[in-house]
């Protein structure tokens, strides 16, 4: 549970860890019914339309390119400010 929360970039309290562990166990137990289905040689379905290689011209059509969205949390007016990756 701690590992999954860490991979998902979520910080859980001890109490939450226990609660989610119980709930996810019960969901995974139910999902375990899939084991009884024979899927040998069955291809996986990732999408249903069958569309492939849908391409668009590489053109910028957005007139507001370069503007900062209104909701950027930390910025200097032009650029988004981000903390250093290697030190805080």
């Amino acid at each position: 549970m701690e590992k999954v929360a860490r991979l998902a970039r979520l910080a859980l309290s001890d109490e939450e860890t226990v609660k989610y562990q119980d709930q996810l166990s019960s969901i995974l137990h139910y999902i375990g019914q899939l084991d009884e289905v024979d899927t040998k040689n069955v291809p996986p379905t990732a999408q249903v339309t069958g569309a492939a290689n849908v391409l668009a011209d590489d053109e910028i059509k957005n007139e507001r390119q370069g503007e900062l969205p209104v909701d950027v949390p930390v910025h200097d007016g032009t650029n988004i400010r981000v903390r250093g990756v290697f030190d805080g």
Partner: protein, 465 residues
């Protein structure tokens, strides 16, 4: 921003009463000119309103652009008059997971409106708007439509652009309509359908005049009744109800058979696995889609919103932990687990394979029939808080709507009567890929034989229909 004590279908201001007679006239002519429309708040709008997905994460988010569905109804002359409540990021079946407000069922305020498009369904049911837009990933238009006694249409995956719908599960998400009649659903679908260069999964295929499909004639139409739905209903129905949902199925069957439809028993043997498949595929896709909320570019930021100082990694952890509600965290973790090294084959790949089998069941059945008739939900609207502590029970509320979603098929929920507690019952008609016209034709013919859709809840506003 929003009073958490509200019970309104809307986030933010409810629309002012409009000239509903004029809107009715326009709709009856197949036009959206000056028709008030409410949009589920998972659709981004550039009208100065917030676009929140009912999440603390996006509580103050303002979009610089309109979702394509919103743009299309605006271009058709409609007015977007409000944003409706939903389960946070469309994750839920009761609208109780909203972080920004509570919405009750207009038929009984002690009960949920369904979800995740619960606000849109309740808004149409209470007649504060004649049309609302919703999104349906596993039943999120059809299930609340059933609980609120309105018409909910989910088109074929790829029929309507997903551009500007805040993403949950991209291989399943599809925009749909909530209306009081099937004819209105046909009108609105005709406006929002069609390819969009901004959504590479929207399909370039001509949009028919859906209203022309509403002939009232179902003679010779072959409709399948899958026996597996009856078996599942027997397991998942309310213990104290008296087969009311199944009786509604039988009554619908009779109505359509009297009108000349032919009924055929069909089998969809993998139906019982659909919820399991869905609750692996959807969280897996959602965990990827929601990875974008990192506190840096937009959304809740622990740095800005709490003045907190720390490392970059802590910005991610704390912004996400504070911004997401419990159900969103649950699904992100479930999806992360299903995709993680060592579990991918056992869970995610297995689910995608069984998804193929669910789809093949439908392909086989549709060689014999034109439509499939099922209940929309195993029960009528449940009570507030009844399932909030039991995520699995909440997931099983989607048991009849999820299969069509996995296969990307069009499906509609239409009002089909009331239980003894005066709560609406909904029935689902599922069509072939791109078979919206047949779905609408049969639903419309059924609607002509009853007045269920015209019944208004006690909380209804004084508007026509």
């Amino acid at each position: 921003m929003v009073d958490a004590a509200t019970t309104s279908p809307y986030l933010g201001d409810a629309p002012k009463p409009a000239d509903s007679a004029a809107a009715r006239q326009a709709l009856d002519k197949g036009s959206l000119k000056d028709v008030p429309v409410a949009a589920k708040d998972i659709m981004v709008t550039a009208d100065g309103r917030k676009s929140t997905a009912a999440s603390k994460m996006l509580e103050r988010y303002e979009s610089p652009y309109d979702a394509t569905v919103v743009r299309k109804v605006l271009d058709a002359g409609a007015k977007v008059v409000g944003k409706t409540n939903l389960d946070e990021f469309a994750m839920g079946a009761s609208t109780e997971n909203s972080a920004l407000g509570k919405t009750v069922n207009p038929w009984d305020p002690a009960r949920v409106p369904g979800g995740s498009s619960g606000g849109s369904a309740a808004a149409v049911a209470e007649r504060s708007v004649p049309v609302a837009l919703g999104t349906d990933t596993g039943g999120s238009v059809r299930q609340p439509a059933a609980f609120c006694g309105v018409v909910g249409m989910k088109p074929t995956y790829g029929r309507v652009s997903r551009y500007g719908l805040i993403a949950m599960a991209s291989s399943l998400d599809q925009a749909g309509t909530l209306t009081t009649t099937v004819a209105d659903a046909a009108t609105v679908l005709g406006v929002i359908a069609g390819p969009d260069p901004l959504d590479a999964t929207s399909v370039d295929r001509e949009v028919p005049d859906y209203r022309k499909a509403l002939t009232g004639d179902v003679k010779g139409l072959k409709i399948g009744l899958p026996k597996e739905y009856a078996e599942l209903l027997a397991i998942h129905r309310d213990e104290d109800d008296e087969d009311e949902v199944w009786n509604a199925v039988k009554a619908t069957w009779k109505t359509l058979a009297d009108a000349g439809a032919e009924f055929v028993d069909v089998s969809l043997p993998h139906t019982k696995y659909a919820v399991s498949v869905y609750y692996l595929v959807m969280p897996a896709e959602a965990s990827s889609n929601l990875a974008r909320y990192d506190g840096i570019r937009y959304g809740h930021s622990v740095e800005r919103d709490t003045g907190w100082q720390g490392s970059l990694e802590d910005v991610y952890f704390q912004s996400r932990t504070q911004g997401f509600g419990p159900e969103v965290k649950r699904r992100i973790m479930l999806g992360t687990y299903a995709l993680s090294a060592g579990y991918y084959d056992a869970y995610y790949k297995k689910a995608m394979q069984v998804r193929t089998l669910v789809t093949r069941d439908f392909e086989k059945a549709f060689k014999e029939v034109d439509l499939i008739l099922t209940p929309t939900t195993p029960t009528t609207a449940f009570k507030q808080d009844e399932k909030t502590d039991d995520p699995l029970a909440m997931y099983l509320a989607d048991i009849f709507t999820v299969p069509a979603s996995l296969a990307g098929l069009p499906a509609i929920s239409v009002p089909a009567g009331f239980d003894k507690g005066n709560l609406p019952i909904g029935l689902q008609l599922i069509g072939k890929h791109w078979g919206e016209e047949t779905v609408l034709r049969a639903a419309h013919a059924y609607e002509q034989a009853h007045d269920w859709h015209a019944k208004k809840p006690p909380a209804a506003k004084e508007l026509p229909r």
